[in-house]
């Protein structure tokens, strides 16, 4: 007797948030798992390995945005894969015109360069905004803990970069010169009185002077995120430009929501268009004005449109 053809049953609600991506060939899909900020607990990693071994191919793929992708999953196994991963703790990631899983560097808990808690920010954004439909196109967010910017924040729709503004207590300075020596952009030089001279225009807010100062003569005056908006990569790359400075960490979710609000409205009837191209169309001042209402202390007075990167292949209209 031949095997009876049972109709395949799948809970389609699992597919709604995305994360199931069609592979080449028949029946097989990639299941993209959510790893906000690239941080994963060891027990979860073990669980994923178990499920991958049982239902997937011989390897997993680490995506460029820090997700783990299970490869060669048969679509008939969707429900059981979701169930075994424990949907509550291991939701699949998204694709499509939605707010994507935020990317982040290791942050400040163990990384000596980190100035802000990027991991906390990424978890918050993931919890509150992940999967929000934009109505237009994908929407990517990244958090870098310091201006060295390993996550390449400015290539995201909204990119955050940890920053501190230094201030000097001259009386506490012992004239060791370590700050000037450590200052790569040469914002600090030693003056004739053998005390540091600060050139604010050159400062990139990395905080190296504060970290190295033996007597805490250098300390932080302000801390927060430098925010660049309108970046993207892909076929026609744009680098995001400066819209806000020293944004307090606790206002990140509000800030992204305010940007999303503007994007949804201004991209109306423009089709599948990324935020950066909307800013180029509307002019950056329009977005600055919108942001200033909610973030008067952080929004910069003027900025430039997202910067077009010439790829030298294909003429842009």
């Amino acid at each position: 007797m031949s095997k009876a053809q049972q109709p395949t049953k799948i809970d389609l609600s699992n597919l709604k948030s995305g994360g199931f991506i069609k592979e080449r060939g028949k029946d097989l899909f990639t299941v993209r798992l959510r790893v906000p900020g690239g941080r994963m607990s060891v027990p979860r990693l073990k669980k994923i390995a178990e499920v991958a071994e049982k239902y997937g191919g011989e390897f997993v793929h680490l995506s460029v945005r820090q997700s783990i992708e299970l490869i060669n999953i048969n679509f008939k196994d969707f429900d059981v894969v979701v169930e075994e991963l424990g949907e509550a703790t291991q939701k699949v990631a998204s694709c499509g015109a939605r707010v994507r899983v935020p990317v982040a560097c290791g942050g400040c808990e163990y990384n000596p360069n980190g100035l802000v808690d990027t991991q906390k920010s990424a978890q918050e954004v993931d919890e509150k905004l992940f999967g929000t439909a934009t109505g237009h196109h994908k929407f990517k967010v990244a958090f870098a803990g310091c201006p060295f910017d390993c996550p390449k924040s400015a290539t995201n729709d909204v990119g955050f970069q940890g920053a501190i503004y230094p201030q000097l207590d001259k009386a506490a300075c012992i004239s060791c010169g370590l700050c000037a020596k450590s200052c790569v952009p040469k914002a600090i030089t030693m003056g004739e009185d053998n005390k540091p001279v600060f050139n604010a225009e050159r400062c990139i807010w990395c905080g190296d002077c504060v970290k190295v100062c033996p007597t805490s003569a250098w300390s932080e005056k302000r801390r927060g995120y430098t925010v660049r908006i309108g970046g993207k990569w892909g076929r026609n790359p744009l680098v995001g430009t400066l819209f806000a400075t020293f944004l307090p960490e606790e206002r990140v979710v509000d800030f992204i929501s305010t940007v999303l609000e503007w994007y949804k409205e201004k991209a109306e009837a423009l089709g599948r268009i990324r935020l950066g191209d909307v800013i180029i169309k509307e002019g950056p001042q329009a977005l600055l004005d919108h942001l200033r209402k909610q973030f008067p202390d952080n929004t910069v007075t003027a900025t430039i449109p997202p910067q077009v990167i010439e790829t030298q292949v294909g003429i842009r209209s």
Binding site: P112, C176, G177, K181, S182, V184, D208, K211, V212, P214
Partner: protein, 75 residues
Amino acid sequence: MQVIDLRGVGCPTNFVKAKLALEDIAAGETAQILLDDGEPVKNVPRSLKAEGHKLLGLRQTDEGHYVLELEKVED
């Protein structure tokens, strides 16, 4: 005063060597650490400060290397 000569030693080996050398001196004592210009003088003092030691001063010698003076602080 103990002199810890880390000239010609790259990062992060220089920092680890400094840590090992500082194990042999008593808390409250001072040491001089000789560091090359460039990455070593940018990184090692900051790392030693993060370990809890008290940095007392830094000066560049005529030969071009740096002398970092610090007081060992026991954690």
